[in-house]
C-alpha cells in the first residue's frame, strides 16, 4: 500500500468510491433484510394488540374460556417476538461480517476484525485512566493489526482498538456495578522506548459533560503536574508524569502540536463535518459541540512503559446497528470515520518514525 493510497483512504472521496462500488449491493440486501424483520416486528405488535382486544371482547361476551385465549394468544405472540429478536441478532452479525469487515479491510488490509471480542479488562486498567479501577469491561468490535508506512525504512506500528463500556463497583465487596463510560479505546505501540508513566488529560472544562471529571485525577504522590512550553497545548491539556524529563522526552514540541491536531479531528464525531471544515479550530468545534449533541470529546492519552493508550469517551455506541434505523451511506460513513481514526493516530502522531533503539 503506497503512501499516496493511504492519504486517499482518509478522505470522504475514498469512502464514497468504496461505498458506491463495493458496499452498495451488500447494503441493499441488508436493508431488504432489515425491512423484512421490521415488517415481522410490526406484525407481532399488531397481533399482540389483536389478542388483547379479542380477549377483552370475549370477556364482555361472557365467554368463560377467554382467559385461555388471552394467555395462549400472548404466548404465541411472545414466541414470534423471540424469533424476530433472533433474526435481528443474526442481521446484526451479518452487517458486521458483510459490511463492516470489508470496510475495515479497505482502510487497512492488515486489520483483523473480531465482532464479538473486546480488549481485556487488565489492559484497560493497565492504562490507569481511572480511579477506582474498572470492575468490568464489556464491548465488541475488536480490531488488531499493524499500520505500515513505506519509506526509506519500512516501518509499522502495532495497534488494537475496540468499543468498550467500563463499569466500576463502589467497593470490592459490592457486586453492583455502575456504568463509568462508553467509548473508543486504542492500544498503540509507541515509537520510543521508555520506563515510566505520563498522562495527557483534557482540561476539566473539556470533560465535565463526560462525567469523568472526578475520576481522572492521577495519584499526587507518584505523579507531578508538568508545565510544558507550548501555550496552546497547556490551554487544552493537563500533563502529569512520574518524571519531568521523561515527560518532555515523550512530549516533544512536535508531538504536542500533533496531539492538538489529532484532538481537533477526534472532537468531531460527524464524518461530514470534518470533511466540510477540515481546518476548523478547537474553539469553534467546542462551540458547535455545545449547540448540537453528538459532537465528539477530547481524547485522553496515557503513555506507559513504551505503550500509548488513548481513550475517547464518546458515551455513545459505535458500530451500532439499529433495527428501526435505515441502513444507508450516512451510517457507514460514521463507521468509516471511527476506523480511520486509528490510522490518524499513527499518521498524525507520526508513530511510524522510529529511528531510536525501539524496533
Amino acid at each position: 500500500m503506497s503512501q499516496e493510497a493511504k492519504v486517499d483512504i482518509l478522505t470522504k472521496e475514498a469512502f464514497n468510491q468504496f461505498y458506491k462500488n463495493e458496499l452498495t449491493p451488500v447494503i441493499q440486501e441488508l436493508e431488504r433484510d432489515r425491512k423484512r424483520i421490521v415488517g415481522k416486528l410490526w406484525l407481532v405488535i399488531f397481533s399482540g394488540i389483536a389478542v388483547l382486544v379479542l380477549s377483552g371482547m370475549l370477556n364482555r361476551l361472557n365467554f368463560e374460556y377467554y382467559i385461555y385465549v388471552a394467555f395462549g394468544g400472548v404466548f404465541v405472540v411472545w414466541k414470534f417476538f423471540q424469533i424476530v429478536l433472533e433474526e435481528e441478532d443474526e442481521l446484526k452479525l451479518k452487517v458486521k461480517t458483510t459490511a463492516i469487515n470489508p470496510l475495515i479491510k479497505r482502510v487497512n488490509e492488515s486489520f483483523k476484525y473480531i465482532p464479538n471480542q473486546t480488549i481485556h479488562k487488565k489492559i484497560v486498567n493497565e492504562a490507569g485512566f481511572f480511579k477506582p479501577k474498572l470492575a468490568s469491561v464489556s464491548g465488541d468490535d475488536y480490531v488488531e493489526g499493524k499500520v505500515y508506512t513505506e519509506g526509506i525504512h519500512d516501518t509499522s506500528t502495532e495497534m488494537t482498538f475496540c468499543e468498550i463500556e467500563g463499569k466500576y463497583s463502589f467497593s470490592s465487596h459490592q457486586r453492583t456495578v455502575m456504568p463509568y463510560f462508553r467509548g473508543l479505546f486504542y492500544v498503540v505501540d509507541f515509537n520510543k522506548h521508555f520506563d515510566g508513566h505520563v498522562y495527557v488529560f483534557p482540561k476539566k472544562k473539556e470533560i465535565e459533560y463526560t462525567l469523568l471529571e472526578n475520576v481522572v485525577e492521577p495519584d499526587k504522590e507518584t505523579f507531578k503536574k508538568v508545565e510544558l512550553e507550548s501555550v496552546s497545548f497547556t490551554k487544552l491539556f493537563d500533563v502529569y508524569g512520574t518524571d519531568p524529563i521523561l515527560t518532555r522526552y515523550i512530549l516533544t514540541p512536535r508531538l504536542m502540536e500533533r496531539i492538538e491536531q489529532f484532538s481537533a479531528y477526534a472532537m468531531t464525531h460527524e464524518a461530514y463535518m470534518t470533511e466540510m471544515f477540515p481546518n476548523m479550530s478547537i474553539a469553534k468545534r467546542r462551540s458547535l459541540r455545545r449547540k448540537k449533541k453528538g459532537y465528539g470529546v477530547m481524547p485522553f492519552f496515557s503513555f506507559k512503559n513504551g505503550m500509548l493508550y488513548i481513550l475517547i469517551p464518546t458515551q455513545t455506541k459505535h458500530f451500532e446497528f439499529k433495527l428501526m434505523k435505515r441502513l444507508d451511506e450516512r451510517v457507514f460513513e460514521n463507521y468509516y470515520y471511527d476506523i480511520i481514526l486509528a490510522l490518524r493516530i499513527v499518521e498524525e502522531l507520526n508513530l511510524n518514525l522510529r529511528i531510536w533503539t525501539k524496533q
Binding site: 520510543k192 522506548h193 521523561l246 518532555r248 522526552y249 516533544t252 529511528i355 531510536w356 533503539t357
Partner: protein, 183 residues
C-alpha cells in the same frame, strides 16, 4: 515595640524570600545535574564512536581529534556556565563530525558505529528533554529573582540571573531528527 514588630516582619519576609529563591536555585542545580548526566552519556558514546572510527580506518581524521579536545574541556569544566559553554561548543561541531566520519565507508557501515549512532540519537532526544526541563527551572528561578520584591534583595544575597541552555537555530537544524534519519 512597633519598630521591633516591623523589623521582625521584615526579617521573616527576608527569610521566606531567601528560602524561596534558594529552593529554586537548588532545583536549577538538580535539573542541571540531570542534564549533565545525559550530556556526559553522549560524551562517553562519542568516545566509543571515535574508538570505533580509529579501529575501522587507519587514516588520520583531524576533526575527530578536535572533538576529542572539546571533550576534555567538558570534563575539566568546573562551573555550570563553563560546562554549558563547553557542551554548546561540542554540539556545534557534531554535525560536521558525523559528516566527516561518514565520508569513510569503512566507518559508516561498521556495525559498532551504527549501533553507537543509534544510541546517540536516543541520547540526543533525552538531552533535548533534559535541556527543556533545565530551561524551565531556570525560567522559574529567573522570574523569582527579577520580580518585586525579590528583585531588591536578590543581588544582595548573591542570587544572579542564570543563563538558559539555548541552541542556536543553525545547531537545532543540524541535529534535526529528519536529517539524522536521512543520513
Amino acid at each position: 515595640m512597633i519598630i521591633g514588630i516591623v523589623i521582625g516582619v521584615v526579617l521573616l519576609l527576608l527569610i521566606l524570600m531567601y528560602n524561596r529563591m534558594k529552593r529554586y536555585d537548588i532545583q536549577v542545580e538538580r535539573a542541571f545535574g540531570d542534564l549533565d548526566a545525559f550530556l556526559m552519556k553522549r560524551v562517553d558514546q562519542l568516545d566509543n564512536l571515535i574508538q570505533t572510527a580509529r579501529v575501522a580506518t587507519d587514516k588520520e581524521m583531524e576533526l575527530v581529534e578536535n572533538v576529542a579536545g572539546l571533550r576534555s574541556r567538558i570534563v575539566n569544566a568546573t562551573s555550570i556556565d563553563e560546562k554549558v559553554a563547553a557542551h554548546i561548543n561540542l554540539q556545534s561541531e557534531l554535525p560536521m563530525f558525523y559528516r566527516t566520519m561518514e565520508a569513510y565507508p569503512e566507518v559508516k557501515f561498521h556495525e559498532n558505529y551504527m549501533l553507537i549512532q543509534r544510541s546517540i540519537n536516543e541520547i540526543e532526544e533525552q538531552i533535548q528533554a533534559a535541556r527543556r526541563n533545565y530551561n524551565e527551572h531556570v525560567r522559574i528561578y529567573n522570574t523569582a529573582i527579577t520580580t518585586f520584591p525579590s528583585v531588591i534583595i536578590a543581588p544582595l544575597l548573591g542570587f544572579k540571573k542564570k543563563k538558559m541552555f539555548e541552541i542556536s537555530p543553525v545547531q537545532r537544524q543540524n541535529v534535526d531528527v529528519k536529517e539524522l534519519f536521512n543520513r
